[in-house]
Structures are given as C-alpha cells and as structure tokens.
C-alpha cells in the first residue's frame, strides 16, 4: 500500500531523512520508534505533504500513485490521514465546519454529492461516542480551549469520521494519561481492517500494549536502522535506543 524508497528529505536545507525505505502493506500496523530528533515527525509530515518539508530524492508510492507530487489536500482525499503531534487550535472555525468541509472535499474528489445534513449529524454523533467526546464540544472552534488529551482524542475523532486508508499517527500517545490512551487505542483499533494500514510514530512502547503492531522499526539518524516484530518494542523498552544509535 505504501512504498517508501531511499527517501531523503530536508527542512530549511538541513537534511533530516537520509535514505529511508519502508514498505507498509494493507492491513498492517507499523510502529516507528526512535530517539528524539531521529526524523520521526519529519517522516510523518513529508508523507502528509506539509509545506517546508522537502523530499530531495527517493520515491513514495501510495497504492501505486506518486504521493510526493500530490498537494496535501489531494493526499488526504486519496486516503492519507496524519494525526498531529501538536494539533492546531483554530478559533473561529468550528469542528463541525472543518469536518463537513473535509467530508465534502473527499466526496467531491470522488465525484460524489455533498453529504446530507442529517446523515452528517448522525455520523458525527456515532463516532464521537467512540472517543467519548461530547458532540456539544464540536460547535466550538477547532481544538479551541481543548485540553491536551481532548486535542488528541479530537484527532482520533477526525480520523474515525474521515475513515482514511492510511493512518499516520505522529506521537498521538504522547502526554496522555492511561484513560485517554485507551480511548485513543480503541479509536485506532476500531478502524483496523484488512484494507487499512497504520503507521504509529511513537516515542514510548506503552501505546503498543494497546495497539498490537505487526512490525516495529527503529528510526535513527534519518534511516531505519533496525526492524523486527512486536518483541523489538519490548527490547527497546528494556535497553533504550543507545545500543542502536551506536551501531
């Protein structure tokens, strides 16, 4: 589903990713772990098409399409979703406005009509239950006045509503208490299916107790330096990253 080959990427001329390769198949969950500054978030943003993150060489294909040439909104419409490490507050744009615009953008992309108001509302209510968000909060500005945990749950809510095929979660688990973490994990597991793939970018092994990965990769110095099964996460938890960074 997602094929990354020898990806080099830089921010402000500084190379962060230095030849990263990764294959993610449909139905798989990949965890990308690594020390701070290894390039984990850069990878997430390059995949989502964030301005300022420049892929200099290499190739990224999503279901056979060259992802790097698509605008960020087109990537989203193709089914790529990035859960932000630091979700943005946008006072004045309500969550409902964002969700409705996002749903209709996807529909338009596929040549479908706009969603009916009643269907939209029913769908939002249904999904909000999973992440235990009071639908009333959704008439407020995007993430406006939300706590750290609420912001992360809101990311998961958007994901549940938009039903992407590739979910990239950038440290969605950071800064969460255990209850919030379980809610986030429930959300991810709800969407887990043979047609969908998940890339979990995380600093902590803890999330992986709730979302069982198929593969674990260690990202260091802009490359994947080690890959393995779920047991690798356990090993990292015990030994830290030092032994890999030195290697």
């Amino acid at each position: 589903m997602l094929e990354i080959k020898n990806l080099h990427a830089s921010i402000d001329g500084k190379e962060i990713l230095k030849g990263l390769s990764l294959n993610v198949g449909a139905g798989e969950v990949h965890a990308i772990m690594g020390p701070n500054g290894a390039g984990k978030s850069t990878l997430a943003h390059v995949l989502a098409g964030r301005e300022g993150y420049v892929a200099t060489t290499g190739e990224v294909k999503f279901e056979g399409k060259d992802l790097l040439t698509l605008e960020p909104e087109a990537r989203a419409c193709e089914g790529v979703f990035l859960g932000f490490q630091y979700p943005v507050e946008i006072p004045g744009v309500s969550n409902l406005t964002l969700l409705k615009a996002a749903i209709n953008a996807r529909r338009k992309y596929r040549g479908r009509a706009e969603i009916e108001a009643s269907d939209f509302l029913a769908w939002i209510r249904d999904r909000a239950k999973i992440v235990k968000i009071d639908p009333k909060m959704l008439s407020r500005g995007v993430n406006e006045g939300f706590s750290g945990g609420e912001k992360k749950r809101n990311e998961i809510l958007q994901m549940l509503i938009l039903e992407p095929r590739l979910m990239i979660l950038d440290e969605t688990d950071s800064g969460l208490d255990i209850d919030a973490l379980k809610i986030v994990a429930d959300g991810i597991n709800t969407l887990r299916s043979p047609e969908r793939a998940t890339v979990l970018v995380t600093h902590y092994q803890r999330l992986l107790d709730y979302v069982q990965p198929d593969f674990v990769h260690v990202l260091a110095r802009g490359r994947i330096v080690k890959s393995g099964g779920p047991e690798l996460a356990q090993e990292l938890e015990e030994k830290g990253y030092g032994w890999l960074e030195a290697a």
């Binding site: 964030r50 301005e51 108001a117 938009l162």
Partner: protein, 415 residues
Amino acid sequence: MKLQPYRAAFDQFASSLPANERLVRDAHLQRFLSLGFPSKREEDWRYTDLAALSEKSFGLAIPAGNEADFKRIDGTERLVFVDGRLDSARSTAAQFCAEIPATESPATDGVLALNAAFSSAGLDLKLAAKQQLEQPLHVLFLSSAGADRATSMSHQRHRIVLGENACATVIVEFARESGSDSLATHTFDIQLGANAQLTLHRLQHESAATTLLTRIDASLGRDARFNALCLDAGGGFVRHDFNVSLDAPGTNAELHGLFAPLPKSHIDNHTRIVHAAPHGRSREHFRGIVGERTKAIFSGKVVVQPGAQKTDSEQRIANLLLSKRAEVNAKPDLEIYADDVKCAHGATVGQLDDTALAYLRSRGIDAATAKSLLLRAFAIEILDHVNFVPLRRHIEALLNFPDDPQLDALIEAVS
C-alpha cells in the same frame, strides 16, 4: 480655473431651484470653491489624497432608467436610491425619503460644503417618543446599469432622529456597480433622544471606479444606545468619517467594523468618539483583511472631555495582511481630560496562520477554501455583532465566505 467643472455643474443644477434656495446653495458652493478638497497636509487627511478630484469634471448623475439589480434582505422595508434619486417603484418605505435642508452655517471642510451645495433628497427617519420601527429599514444606493456612462456624481444628505425611547434598525448599503468614474458624498446627521436605541449597519461594496465619501455625525442623548457596524467589502477609493458624541450621561456606543476591500482599493476609516458626559461607555473594534495593492487606513480617536468621569472606553484594531504589497495604517489615539476613567486601546498587524492552513489542508480541504475559512474566522468577532440573521447571511455572501446555510442548524442540533 480649478474646480471649474463643479461650478458649471452647479449652474446647471441651481437653475431649477427657487431663488432663496439657490442663494443658500450658492453660499455653500462658494465655500467649497474657496476651501477646495481637503489636502494631505491636513492631519485628518494625511493618508487620503483627494487632489485627483480637483482635476476631474463630474456632472450630476442622471438616472438612465435601466435598473441596477440588488439583493433584497428578507424581513426588511426598503428605500432604494439610484444615482442619488429615489426609486419609488422599488421602495417600500418611500415615506422616509425627504429633502433635508442644508444648514446655513458654513461647512467646516470642502467635502461638506460640496455636499451641502448639491445635496438631493435622502433618508429622513424621524421617530416620535416610544415609536419603534417594526422591521429594519434597508437603504440602498445604486447606480443605473449600463457601461459607457460619463463621469458622474451624486450628493445626498440624510437624517435619523429618534425620540425618547424610540428604537430602530437601519441598514445603509452602498452598492454601485458603475464601471465609469463616479463620485458620491453622503452625510448622516443622527440624533438619539433619551434612552433611544439605534442599530446602524453601513455596508459598502462599490466598484473599483468609485470614489465614495461618507460622513456620519451622531449625538447621543441620556442613556441612549447606539450600535454601529461598518463593512467595507468593495473596491474603489473610500473614505468614511464617523463621529460619535456621547453628549449626555449613561450612553453606550458600540462601533464595530470589518474592512476586506477588493485588491487595488483605498479604504480610510476615520472615527472619532467624544465622551462629553459622565458614565459613558464606548467600544470600538475594527478588523481589517488587506490584500494585494490595497491601502487601508484606520484612525480612531477617543476624546474624554473634562467632567466625563467614569468613562469606560475600549478601542481595538487588528489587521491581517495578505500580501507584501498591502499597506495598512492603524492609528489608535486617546485624548483624556478626566481623571476617573477606564480607557484601553490596542492595535495589531499579522498574517494568516500557516500552521492552521496546513492543518486544514491535511484534512483534504483545498487551499482556497481553507484560506477563506481562516479569513472568516478572523472576521467572526465582528460578524458576531450582527444579530439579524438575514443580514448576517447577506454580509457573509458579500465577503465570499464559504456558503454554509446549514451550519447554524447543525450547531443548533448538536447543542
């Protein structure tokens, strides 16, 4: 001689007036000819140069008969002017149109003198004590449709006088679409009696070839409440003077504005709020979205006169610059001559939030829609002062904000 075309236009205009009226008008014209248009050397006109007007030869506009279209606002009565003349066929409240005699005292500046010399009938809303306008009154200023029309001008005087406890909502909309050079001046004299309440919306979406000069002078009686909302969504060369005088104790004036002019325009909002009596409260909040080759000016002066104790005044101006070739001059200005007052002011200039833009795009929303959502978000603090729903929709359409009539219902349903 400079200004000669104005002299010529006046002679033509005055020939049909009764002798005594002609005399009064002629005095105003003489005053105009001697004052001329205000010059950039005057502090109040520093950023808005009217010199070009002296060189132009405007003739008084003559309605061409072909009707310019306009959008009706549901639930309002209408007064329609085309090229400065009442269009009675399309007006539902023609009783509020009248010729307002020009004052005999000499005008204080050239624009006022010009307006007094040429003024034609305008809005004349007088409400007796306790009288209330059932529906908002929508006053439209249009130009007759059709391209190749000569440069033309129109000048109108208006008056709103509310008696004790009277109440009204007025929407004034300048919506000329004329493609040719035009000049319009409008003066509004507003007097609010004790405990009267006026909500005034001044909307402007003129074409690029327009020069529009408006002036509102409002005087507030005891405990009167005046809420004004000013919107500039059009182009051209526009100057608004807005003077509010809190003349009696316990008054409340709110003056809010949004300017989001078209590219290559010039919008000057010049406001002056005078606290002349104790226990007055004023709020002034303007927001500007300024784009390509557009110059926007906001000068807001608040004066607290001696004796106006317990004044509570706040003035805020925020601007969003969308282009490197956008210019904004924001000048808050406080003059305080009383010692027991609360006055605050602040001005900011910023740009669109790239992070928010990236966030919206990452959800599949195209860049143009994302941008307009953020512009709307910036404007919303001002738009939220518009409580009359049909007007709110009208304004959002003028601003080309993403049309989402279902949204309010959705928010309602969720809450």
